[in-house]
């Protein structure tokens, strides 16, 4: 299968900090890819670069053969006008354009339009696909009425698809958290994407809701939409993802199937920490020869086990708390 999204040598620097450091990976059509890594590993920053919100310091992002990063002539660099020009939309691809090309995303902390109804939230995402002009809206022409009816039908189709079964006229603030997550996915799907980026879609969901979310993500994949998700729930990632990319300190440290990732020493080091003398989790290694999946499961919790599985993966953990 051909690559839908190619990220090459992506680097994002905030002052002296490299949030993303030479990240390369690709997403193939219709696959489910998980991006994991300890907190602060640069996963969300990478997402923001890919979807056009952040402008990478260097590297390239190519989506369906179209580059999301634009060259800036040297002149503007020397005049220090790059930032100003880019803030006016020059030498960059705006996130809205990236969305029109077929990449949709959700946000880590829910970002629905709180003062719009559920139905309007989904309709809003169809902005680019709607044939409605200024005059037709003002005069309520038959074309406008048709477009609005089609828009409502499509939005309801997506709401039914994600299994939303409450009142569509409610304001999203009135919905329980799990339903809001569903609406956010319906809204992202309504932009008609080829690639869906989900930033921690399972955060704050209970076991049943997570199971439903996994089924939904598979359903989305079955539509032919590639799904990339950032997720901390290892049980969910291992069960759902076809491929996993692991980041640490902005760098990619592993890329492979769930089985390969479970056995990767670098991943275990990133998650479980290293002794001061540099040996990763030696007693486990002594016992099993190679560190097993059980080690990860023991340290970071296994989502299949039950209730919520918060991921220790903070900097403190890397210092060695988890051991």
């Amino acid at each position: 299968m051909s690559a839908l999204l190619e990220v090459t040598d992506l680097t994002l620097r905030f002052g002296g900090v490299k949030a993303v450091d030479g990240l390369s990976f690709e997403v193939r059509e219709g696959e489910i890819l998980a991006v994991i890594g300890p907190n602060g590993a640069g996963k969300t920053s990478a997402f923001n670069c890919i979807s056009g919100f952040y402008l990478p310091t260097s590297g390239s992002v190519v989506f369906q053969g179209r580059s999301i990063v634009r060259e800036v002539p040297r002149l503007w660099h020397s005049l220090r006008l790059v930032h100003l020009l880019q803030s006016f939309g020059f030498y960059r691809v705006l996130p809205s354009r990236v969305t029109k090309w077929g990449m949709a995303r959700t946000f880590q902390n829910l970002r629905l339009f709180r003062e719009l109804s559920v139905l309007d939230n989904v309709k809003t995402a169809m902005h680019a696909n709607l044939r409605e002009g200024f005059w037709s809206t003002l005069l309520h022409t038959p074309g406008y009425r048709r477009a609005e009816a089609a828009c409502a039908r499509e939005a309801r189709g997506w709401l039914d698809f994600v299994g939303f079964d409450d009142d569509e006229e409610l304001y999203v603030g009135q919905l329980p958290y799990g339903e809001q997550r569903r609406v956010e996915i319906a809204r992202a799907l309504a932009t008609s994407p080829k690639l869906l980026l989900l930033d921690e879609p399972a955060a704050g969901l209970n076991f049943n809701e997570k199971q439903a979310l996994m089924a939904l993500i598979r359903k989305v994949r079955d539509l032919g939409v590639a799904v990339v998700l950032i997720e901390h729930d290892m049980g969910m990632v291992m069960e759902l993802a076809e491929r996993i990319v692991v980041l640490n300190y902005g760098r990619e440290i592993a890329d492979g199937t769930p089985e390969e990732i479970k056995a990767d020493p670098l991943v275990i080091e990133a998650y479980l920490g290293v002794d001061d003398d540099g040996a990763a989790v030696d007693d486990t290694r002594l016992r099993t020869g190679a560190v097993s999946a059980d080690a990860i499961a023991a340290a970071i919790g296994d989502g299949a086990g039950g209730a919520s599985t918060p991921l220790p993966g903070t900097r403190a953990d890397q210092e060695g708390d988890v051991r």
């Binding site: 629905l112 902005h127 309520h140 939005a155 439903a212 359903k219 032919g224």
Partner: protein, 403 residues
Amino acid sequence: MARDLAAALKHAPLRAPAPLFDRPAAPRGILDSQRGFMRALGALCVVLVAILPFVDASRYTISIATSALIYVMLCMGLNVVVGYAGLLDLGYIAFFAVGAYVSGIFTTVLGFPMWLALPATILACILAGIIIGAPTLRLRSDYLAIVTLGFGEIIRITANNLEVTGGPSGIHGIPTWEFFGWSFADGFTIGGIEFPERVVFYYFVALVVIVVGVIGAGRLGKGKLGRAWKAVRDDEDAAEAMGINTYVAKISAYIIGAVWAGMAGQLMATHLSAISPNSFQFLYSTLILMAVVLGGMGSTPGVIIGALFVSLAPELLRDFAEWRYLIFGVLLVVVMLFRPAGLWPATAVLPWLKKRRPQPPPFTAAIGAVDEAASTGGDAVEPSVMESVDGLPATDAEEGRRG
């Protein structure tokens, strides 16, 4: 039917699966639906306003009523900018000034008739909206407010210093509308009641323009553009991620706000027949903004109420002489304390419609959803779908949430 609808959308690689069941059509009656009730109420208001001159055609009443109507127009324009798009504009009166001055200059200095000044006013306001909006709309919230404040003052001070605008004394002798030698200034008689000169223009033309302005702004707020504005207001980044070019959305709100204000400015120039920089002070920007916030941002009925309150309250409180602005201020504070979202918030639902229960999905449709999920994903039976099949837990939850 479905294919017709699909043709109404632009081509997109991914289409939603058909909805699992057909929703019942929204109720339409005057008392059964918000929309029907609001239409009836609007029509009633227009009729009441239209018969006012037949009840009391005194110069004072008509003059006050006309300025109240102009305030409504201005507030509807600002409502697009502040209420829909969430752009705090503290210099909105600048566009009002542009409209008033352009029509004034076109009719007095250049000698065009008033109806020819109309397209010129609109063009000038679009231009002013772009000139002021293009550089500033990259900014967010507080910064935007300060920059618009500056632009509002720039326009006023420019008008104060230019020769063509008549300097501090402004422009006077602005003619009223006239067609082929017949002018509104002549006045005339309808139904045996003689109207003082120009009352027809003062009032009925303003009324027509305002009705068109109110309906137009309301319609724009409900369509694709309106949803984009509200999305930008609620969360700019999320709106951008949904394929809305937020810059274009913001500048279109700004331009439409400018045109509405320009139309109001022209009405006002013809109404007073004289304008001066003093009529466009910062105070008026805040007053209009206050009307919008007081009435309820983004709510058409709310904004109209707010505009009427702000324009009529000082007149109605005239008996209290110098105390009236104090009372006015206290009233405002009281209103904001008890109704922080405005007198008629945009999210308000008519009290007798609040109890309306959502139509539960038809039993067969819910079964279909479960079947489909079971056949596609195996374990895709979502808990919430199950709940609605059981019929019990979901309704309780809804009851609680609705209260």
